[in-house]
Symmetry: C2
Subunit: 385 residues, 2 copies
């Protein structure tokens, strides 16, 4: 019946492949069947019986490289895909890794091995070492906080930014809900907050950076990033679950902007809602933002107001630093209701190659915000890197 599907010539497809390791539920026979199905579903999306044999031979169809028992109920399937089919655009790349298969239960992306296809990606412009260089901080975890709550007038947000910077915070990000609201316009906020941080830096001699939230649609995001850069903002906050990972990659790769990027996990929870579907924390919050050019990845820490386990978080942090075909390591940023008192716990769990993000907790320690920041800084200095 194949004759009904034409395939008149070979396609020019390179030999470079990357490997995705999927955890698949079932006994060996079931897992193998699901893995083979996945090789077709994620590429030709066509019944095996109808696919011109040439497409299998040429490697357009995914290849099951190995299938190994994972535990009593599941297997690990290593599937390779052609780099030329996935392209260097993360919309198509992610589509190949998990597009349709995300809609099927019992299959989870555990980790990705880019191999020679890594050449299609620049990864983070700065990474851990580059961000430390920008900030001039080499001997302790970095400190980050957030401008909030949404609803404050711009002047109050700028005042907060000034006090955080005066107190020695390294990175001040917008809360990810600060967009371009009528009551707090992007340009108004960003220009005032960037100026407030610059003023504090002149007084302290430090190099605090302000990272406004530029998450928006394709027509606004590049414009906002440029505006931020022109105001002197020192980086960008983006939520790739909302604007797409490829949008992040494009801003990261922009040589005129050349700003560090902080990735926020908003709207990505679906992929870790079930332990047997979606992505591992390691891949979703560790490897993928790194591939998309983030220099640091925010995630909900264990013990905060979210529900990630300690084990999830440690595996996630490993994804930020493990060798990845030459792509730079990035900072893990555990967050979500952290208090100043938890810094010891964070350093114990993650080591000192870490950004400590304390938001509301910074207000709780005492009435003088800059003083609270300095106290946090003192604690962070106890953990030399």
């Amino acid at each position: 019946m194949n004759a009904v599907v034409p395939c008149t010539s070979s396609v020019s497809i390179g030999p470079q492949r990357f490997v995705v390791v999927y955890a698949i539920e079932g006994n060996e026979e079931q897992a193998r069947a699901k893995a083979i199905d996945l090789c077709f579903e994620q590429t030709v999306e066509f019944p095996e019986t109808l696919v011109p044999e040439r497409l299998i031979r040429e490697g357009v169809v995914g290849r099951l490289d190995s299938l190994d028992r994972r535990d009593e109920r599941s297997f690990l399937a290593a599937v390779s895909f052609a780099g030329d089919a996935a392209t260097g655009d993360l919309t198509q790349w992610l589509n190949m890794v998990m597009g349709n298969t995300s809609l099927k239960p019992g299959i989870r992306v555990e980790r990705i091995d880019l191999g020679p296809t890594a050449a299609a990606f620049r990864g983070p412009r700065f990474g851990r070492a580059g961000l430390r260089e920008l900030l001039g901080v080499f001997d302790r975890p970095l400190l980050c906080t957030a401008l909030k709550p949404m609803g404050l007038p711009v002047g109050d947000l700028a005042d907060l930014a000034y006090r955080f910077a005066s107190g020695g915070i390294d990175l001040i990000k917008d809360d990810h809900g600060l967009a371009d609201q009528r009551f707090c316009r992007f340009e108004d906020r960003v220009s005032h907050c960037a100026a407030a941080v610059a003023r504090a830096n002149r007084e302290t001699g430090l190099r605090c950076r302000y990272l406004p939230n530029v998450t928006a649609g394709p027509d606004q995001m590049p414009r906002r990033a440029t505006f931020a850069k022109d105001c002197g903002a020192g980086g960008l906050l983006m939520s790739p679950g909302l604007c797409g990972f490829e949008a992040m990659r494009q801003l990261a790769d922009d040589d005129v902007l050349a700003l560090p990027i902080l990735s926020h996990p908003a709207f990505q929870g679906g992929f870790i809602a079930s332990p047997n579907s979606g992505f591992s924390h390691h891949a979703l919050f560790g490897q993928i933002p790194r591939l998309a050019g983030a220099d640091a990845t925010i995630f909900p820490n264990f013990g905060g107001r979210f529900s990630f386990s300690r084990e999830d978080c440690i595996a996630l942090a490993a994804g930020t630093g493990a060798p990845m075909a030459g792509i730079r390591p990035i900072f893990p940023v555990p967050a979500g209701g952290m208090s100043v008192a938890q810094v010891h716990e964070l350093a114990a769990a993650y080591g000192s190659e870490l950004i400590i993000l304390v938001g509301g907790g910074l207000f709780r320690a005492g009435p003088d915000l800059a003083e609270n920041c300095r106290a946090l800084l003192q604690i962070a200095r106890q953990f030399p890197s």
Copy 2:
């Protein structure tokens, strides 16, 4: 302690609010606590004790309008949010609906009531009636198929397009894995396939439309959409899970393009992987693509190779057509391994306001593809709308 957080003046926030109905697991006390927590988490992201009271009074913080028992283990919480805080940008709008809360288990978006905030959205340009008008088909379900498999040379894809169009298919979409691969360049494919469909239309007198896949990053997508339009393509395929819903909204709202949009569910599976988290099928595949301007929404049908239940699919289809503050109804497009023989079942489940998408199944019916299409058309005509 509030004095530490400045709030020197009121913000100018309009009274228009929209309502999100969340299903929340727990007993009444637990559900109420989670619902109130959500009102803060999704807006000010700040502990209630630290939020300046003015932000609550002015409505920046979400409001729990009602809490009703859903079943023995869960409640329905209706939470309203300020339209001015969510803005008309779907990145921020979705962030407010489910950004951080997506990372918490046991909370699911059931449905959305836009109320007066609907004025911020144009919704679908065509919708059901407009798409029928474009195609000149008023008396039966519409027919759709896909150009695939990935890996075919452009000439073969164009040949398929010609045969599908000759056989009377209304809408021919790219497979969602056809991007801009080295072995099948976007511009080459789109120009040849659009020309093939135009040639068939000249011969048949029909109005078949070709919808290329324009899913890509912000720098490429608008350019590809414009190229497609200039080639005579009759619509666009987009996967908003990969490129973002706001990117879809912007192309839908583009008055120069003015093309119908077909939404593909790739990479959205995480949100329906757990029955107690993420989104209902009704909201995710019915209401939200409609809000983002899609004219039709593809989803995996029950009984195919995916795992949506019949109940999920019927609720989803209801989300495409139920009254939604003046936003046009759109077509449900059940898909995923449909065969010609299943048309009766589809029409029985969804009625005739439906797009029937048959991919690989069209090849199976017999060796002459155009003849297979004509047979499908004959069956569809048995279900007058």
